[in-house]
């Protein structure tokens, strides 16, 4: 779809480093998290080197935050276009979801390269052949992210407040999704989190697949898949409903 191409080409137009940003972002963020949270606040990471640990979590997290943010603001950002011409509205969020996969792939590759480097230098050698299952995990990631984004977009068509609230939602989500804390390190009264937050399950599973950390239980995975799927359907329906009159509110 051409919209995918549009998103990709225009994202880093007129930046000097261009697509390099895909790589710089997670590295800087991983360093910051490793120093501040794991070093400073003393949060342990099941023995995994914090930099590697965070780099692993950040790939799916960046996908979520970027996609959720722009999908959620679909009606606000595209009001101009939607007022002028009709085409199936859901193609815009779907295009965002697809085009951001490129960043996800690059950032995952970056992580894999660093993982191999750690391996070769002998700093961290534990690995799991389940790592090949990561793409399957990404399917759930896409479904969940789009579902959440579509729900917010439908509401934000009427309640613009949500667009402003989104950055706080994302901040809270970052903590609630175990980006820099392993599940096993949570205090017991917070262990229920993965039952309700598929993103936490996804990120925790990603680490488990790649780094052999403890991960979540099978039932938790199933529940999270169910929640993601349900959210996606609800989001799609709500989005279709909202798109019929959204232009009147813009």
């Amino acid at each position: 779809m051409l919209l995918v191409r549009r998103d990709l080409v225009t994202k880093y137009a007129q930046t000097m480093l261009g697509p390099l940003w895909f790589v710089i972002q997670p590295i800087v963020m991983a360093i910051v998290l490793s120093v501040a949270i794991n070093g400073g606040a003393g949060v342990t990471t099941e023995g995994v080197p914090p930099f590697l640990f965070n780099l692993c979590s950040l790939a799916p997290w960046f996908y979520f935050s970027q996609t959720f943010g722009s999908v959620g603001a679909t009606f606000v950002n595209n009001a101009d276009l939607f007022q002028k011409v009709y085409f199936p509205r859901s193609s815009v969020p779907l295009a965002v979801g697809l085009s951001n996969l490129v960043a996800l792939a690059i950032q995952t590759s970056l992580f894999l390269i660093v993982l191999v480097a750690y391996h070769v230098s002998g700093v961290w050698t534990s690995h799991s052949w389940r790592i090949v299952l990561i793409p399957v995990l990404f399917i759930e990631l896409v479904v969940f992210t789009l579902g959440a984004g579509l729900c917010v977009a439908s509401l934000a068509a009427r309640y613009r407040d949500l667009v402003h609230a989104m950055q706080y939602l994302l901040l809270i989500a970052m903590f609630a999704s175990l980006v820099f804390v392993p599940l096993s390190n949570l205090p017991t009264h917070l262990r229920w989190l993965p039952w309700f937050n598929p993103l936490a399950v996804i990120i925790e599973s990603m680490r488990s697949l790649a780094l052999n950390t403890s991960g979540v239980t099978a039932i938790q995975s199933v529940v999270s898949v169910a929640i993601s799927g349900g959210l996606f359907l609800v989001g799609l329906l709500a989005f279709e409903r909202a798109s019929r009159t959204a232009v009147d509110l813009a």
Binding site: R6, A13, F82, K84, V85, F87, T245, V247, D248
Partner: protein, 415 residues
């Protein structure tokens, strides 16, 4: 054969003040508690109970003042927004040309934008490949195809946008004539492109235009909307005629324009009160036609008995160029007015103006040398607008008119 477009009791409501509706109020309304927000006073019906059937291959004009609901109707037909009530049934692919530049992105090149915008408008890749050259040639941007469109001049941008839009090839074409764009040369090109789209047979067209001459020439039927409802639907000539006589400041046979509040200069010893203009010909509908007669009836109030040296009916082009000046001073007789109300009739035997809209200016002054401020009795710079129609109306001659003044001409090729 089934009609191409069927509209039944279509209504569209807008909430004028949707902002204060908070989430809490809405949840309250869902639960059946409290007043439903958006009380009666804040609602606005942009369309109310509009029904219309358009047969395949028909060209229908849509006229009405600003705010009559024309654009809303087009938006609903092109599925940009949903109606609040009523039904639409459309058979065939709809191409809507409501605004140019839909889906353009400044960072992409002209080439990319043609494909992107074309896809959004509903063209397939194959179709675009086929018409690509045509689009580029029409837009006249060959040299800049691979430059991001944000570096384009605004003229290049609209030309490209327009070119993409008019090269879609739908069964049902919905278009707003307002979108003719660019410099005057390209405007002509785009207008004639639109007209060729409309007149290319077999296509169903719904056309919004403020140019009554265009509507007259192109459309077989016409829908007149007024404040969201159908005011008239029927043969173009009748509908246009009654629209002109009632619409705003268009002067017509049955429509006397009150000019008492119009901006004016002059000492006011005599004042224009009202004006109406028709062809003076009872047999026709009273519309003024090219090379036809015109009769201008002026209501004038004078303070005392007065001989007015110069009383003039002036017709200007919309750009302000003075085209016709029927001045009594040139006839040599003063115009005698009695104290109180007078009616003066100015007749023009033949009005040599091509179809279009013109402005009417009224003048009264005394001739004491120069027309200084004290000598001007009353001068209404813009009394009303006058519509000049094509004699014969919808007669199949579809050539647009250029220029303002008609002439009789012929040609031969010398051997």
């Amino acid at each position: 054969m089934n009609p191409a477009i069927e509209i039944k009791n279509l209504s569209k409501r807008y909430d004028l003040h949707p902002r204060p509706t908070s989430l809490r109020e809405n949840i309250g309304a869902w639960l059946g508690r409290g007043e439903a927000s958006g009380a009666q006073g804040t609602q606005y019906w942009a369309l109310r109970d509009v029904s219309l059937t358009i047969e395949a291959g028909e060209v229908v004009g849509l006229i009405g003042l600003n705010g009559a609901g024309k654009s809303t109707l087009l938006k609903i037909l092109s599925r940009i927004t949903d109606p609040s009530a009523g039904e639409i049934r459309i058979r065939g692919r709809v191409g809507a040309l409501l605004e140019v530049g839909a889906g353009f992105h400044g960072d992409l090149t002209g080439r990319d934008n043609i494909y992107l915008s074309g896809a959004i408008l509903g063209m397939s890749k194959a179709e675009l490949d086929r018409r690509f050259e045509e689009i580029v040639a029409f837009a006249e941007i060959e040299r800049f195809l691979d430059v991001p469109v944000k570096r384009y001049s605004s003229g290049m941008f609209v030309r490209l946008a327009f070119a993409v839009a008019v090269h879609l090839d739908p069964d049902i074409l919905i278009l707003d004539e307002v979108l003719s764009v660019g410099d005057s040369r390209f405007q002509r090109k785009s207008l004639s492109k639109i007209e060729s789209l409309v007149t290319k047979g077999g296509r169903t067209v719904l056309l919004v235009s403020h140019n009554m001459d265009t509507v007259n020439r192109l459309c077989s039927r016409c829908l007149w909307l007024e404040s969201g409802s159908v005011k008239a639907l029927g043969g173009t000539r009748e509908v246009v005629a009654s629209y002109l006589t009632s619409a705003g400041d268009f002067a017509g046979s049955s429509n006397r324009i009150d000019v008492t509040a119009a901006p004016r200069t002059g000492n006011g010893k005599a004042r224009f009160l009202g004006v109406s203009i028709d062809s003076g010909d009872r047999s026709s509908s009273g519309q003024i036609c090219t090379d036809g007669p015109a009769r201008c009836m002026l209501d004038i109030e004078a303070e005392n008995d007065i001989d007015v040296d110069s009383l003039a009916v002036v017709i200007n082009s919309l750009s302000g160029l003075k085209l016709v000046n029927a001045d009594t001073a040139l006839l040599g007789n003063a115009c005698r007015l009695r104290a109180g109300r007078n009616r003066v009739i100015v007749t023009i035997d033949q009005l040599h103006l091509l179809p279009g809209t013109y402005g009417l200016e009224l003048w009264m002054g005394q001739r004491s040398g120069d027309y200084l401020a004290g000598d001007i009795l009353d001068h209404v710079h813009h009394a009303c607008r006058v519509e000049v129609l094509r004699p014969g109306g919808h007669d199949g001659s579809v050539l647009p008119t250029e220029g303002l003044i008609p002439c009789v001409y012929d040609f031969e090729v010398e051997t």
